[in-house]
């Protein structure tokens, strides 16, 4: 499995724990999935989701970077091993 696929698979593990996620939504998650629209998360739910990912990936993503994340692909890019630890 390539690094980016591995990252997306770990992101999906966290999405699975979010309230109201159905197998149908989970099955459709791709790098193009829009976090707000396709996962139906409000702005605070997005921040909580990313907080959990920061814990899982043992990293820190500052809120100004969070503000620029729209898709699962964007998220994977900041969580990828080479960029993880700190994204400022």
């Amino acid at each position: 499995m390539a690094d980016d696929e591995r990252v997306i698979s770990r992101i999906i593990d966290v999405i699975r724990t979010l309230e109201g996620m159905t197998p149908d939504v989970l099955a459709k998650v791709t790098p193009q999935t829009n976090i707000v629209r396709d996962l139906n998360l409000d702005s605070i739910a997005v921040m909580d989701f990313i907080l959990e990912l920061e814990v899982k990936f043992n990293t820190v993503i500052s809120l100004d970077i969070v503000a620029g994340i729209e898709t699962i692909g964007d998220l994977a890019r900041v969580l990828e091993p080479q960029s993880a630890q700190v994204t400022q």
Partner: protein, 406 residues
């Protein structure tokens, strides 16, 4: 121009009863710290954060009236432009002495205190670490600062430590921001453990004691006093609009050169300063807080009584007994109906709905006052329980726990 708020408008319309708007209640009269008139009928005030009940304290009213007569209704500008009044100096000295700190700065509201402090303290290279459940004023201050901002899991010192360790090698100061009592569920920060993280990592620590000033600690100095970690707290922020019964905010600190912030904090520099009547009543309220420790025991007793009464009736509450007692609901619809029924039965509490609530819960939030009588607390427990049974929120009447009717 306002089309972007359509979703907000629709959400708002869903919670508004035909007769009553939960977020715009009109009190035709406020008669005491615990009683008001809504729609021509008396209501018990159970959601006003008037923890010590000082809004009608005769000595505070007298001092405010005297200042109003002697010095007028307002300062008409900022202290930077219009100068400092004796009342400002006196209150700064008083609040610094109360906390045993070298210096204090006043702000015109508690919101501005967080805005003014966070923007001035945290610069471009610095890092702010905010508890995830922080008040909007903390988020707004963080957003306006040029610092990197990260949220840590609510009340989780381990997650805070993990983040500080990752940031350790980066340049810039690290400032941890937490609250004494969190305003939605009334839960309390694990400040001893957070202070230990701060010591170990060399970060700075700011505690917002908005809801804990006058409430926690043997002398009412808040959570830092209660947890025995005042020496670890670099900045205490708070408000005069809750336990001290007026309006305004402050920050106290022992930091050398603290006064330079008067030239760096825009929320201090570019807004009108507190009027003389306010500084006078707050100065007096601090005297009362010190002179009457019994107010804190009354508050503690009332909080425990309401919390225990509602817990025994079967309501799902916050994790800690504190003057903020919130009932958690599964759905916003039930919370809205519950809130309306309570108001119709003569109780005003707060309705708090997602997304502005922790964990997206819907809350009926009460805040207890030292000024509530035992009869008022019993009335609240009985009425809330009756509505809970009627709406099926609590399953059955447990008469043993219901106080006698008034």
């Amino acid at each position: 121009m306002l089309a972007k708020y359509e979703h907000l408008k629709q959400a708002y319309a869903r919670v508004r009863d035909e007769r009553q708007d939960p977020f715009n209640v009109h009190f035709e009269k406020i008669s005491s710290p615990t009683q008001g008139i809504v729609n021509g009928r008396p209501v018990l005030l159970l959601g006003t954060n008037n923890y010590l009940g000082l809004t009608f304290d005769a000595s505070c009213v007298a001092k405010a009236t005297e200042a109003l007569r002697l010095e007028g209704t307002g300062t008409t500008g900022s202290r930077t432009a219009n100068g400092t009044y004796s009342g400002h100096k006196m209150l700064e000295q008083k609040i610094a002495d109360f906390f045993g700190r070298a210096a204090a700065m006043l702000f015109t509201t508690g919101y501005q205190a967080n805005l003014g402090m966070l923007t001035a303290l945290a610069g471009r290279e610095d890092h702010l670490l905010l508890d995830a459940d922080s008040h909007a004023s903390i988020y707004d201050g963080a957003r306006l600062s040029e610092a990197s901002v990260t949220r840590f899991r609510h009340n989780d010192p381990d997650d805070l430590f993990r983040r500080l360790r990752i940031l350790a090698d980066l340049p810039g100061d690290k400032l941890i921001v937490v609250e004494g009592i969190y305003s939605m569920l009334g839960d309390i920060a694990p400040l001893k453990e957070i202070a230990a993280v701060k010591r170990e990592t060399g970060a700075y620590l700011l505690v917002d004691e908005a809801h804990s000033l006058g409430v926690l600690g043997e002398h009412g100095r808040g959570l830092a006093e209660q947890a025995g970690v005042e020496n670890d707290v670099d900045f205490i922020v708070g408000t005069f609009s809750k336990s001290l019964g007026s309006i305004g905010g402050f920050c106290v600190s022992d930091m050398p050169d603290f006064d330079v912030l008067r030239l760096a904090s825009r929320a201090y520099m570019f807004t009108a300063s507190l009027p003389p009547s306010v500084t006078a009543s707050v100065t007096q309220a601090l005297e009362v807080l010190v002179a009457k420790p019994g107010l804190r025991s009354d508050l503690e007793r009332n909080a425990a009584r309401l919390y225990d009464g509602l817990a025994k009736a079967g309501f799902l509450l916050g994790p800690t007994v504190s003057p903020i007692v919130s009932i958690r609901f599964d759905s916003p619809e039930i919370a809205v109906v519950f809130w309306n029924k309570l108001l119709a039965l003569g109780i005003y509490a707060n309705l708090a709905l997602p997304p502005a609530t922790p964990g997206r819960q819907s809350l009926l939030r009460s805040s207890v006052s030292a000024a509530h009588t035992s009869a008022e607390i019993e009335f609240a427990i009985k009425t809330i329980t009756t509505v809970g049974i009627e709406l099926g929120v609590v399953q059955h009447a447990r008469e043993a726990f219901l106080p006698a009717a008034q």
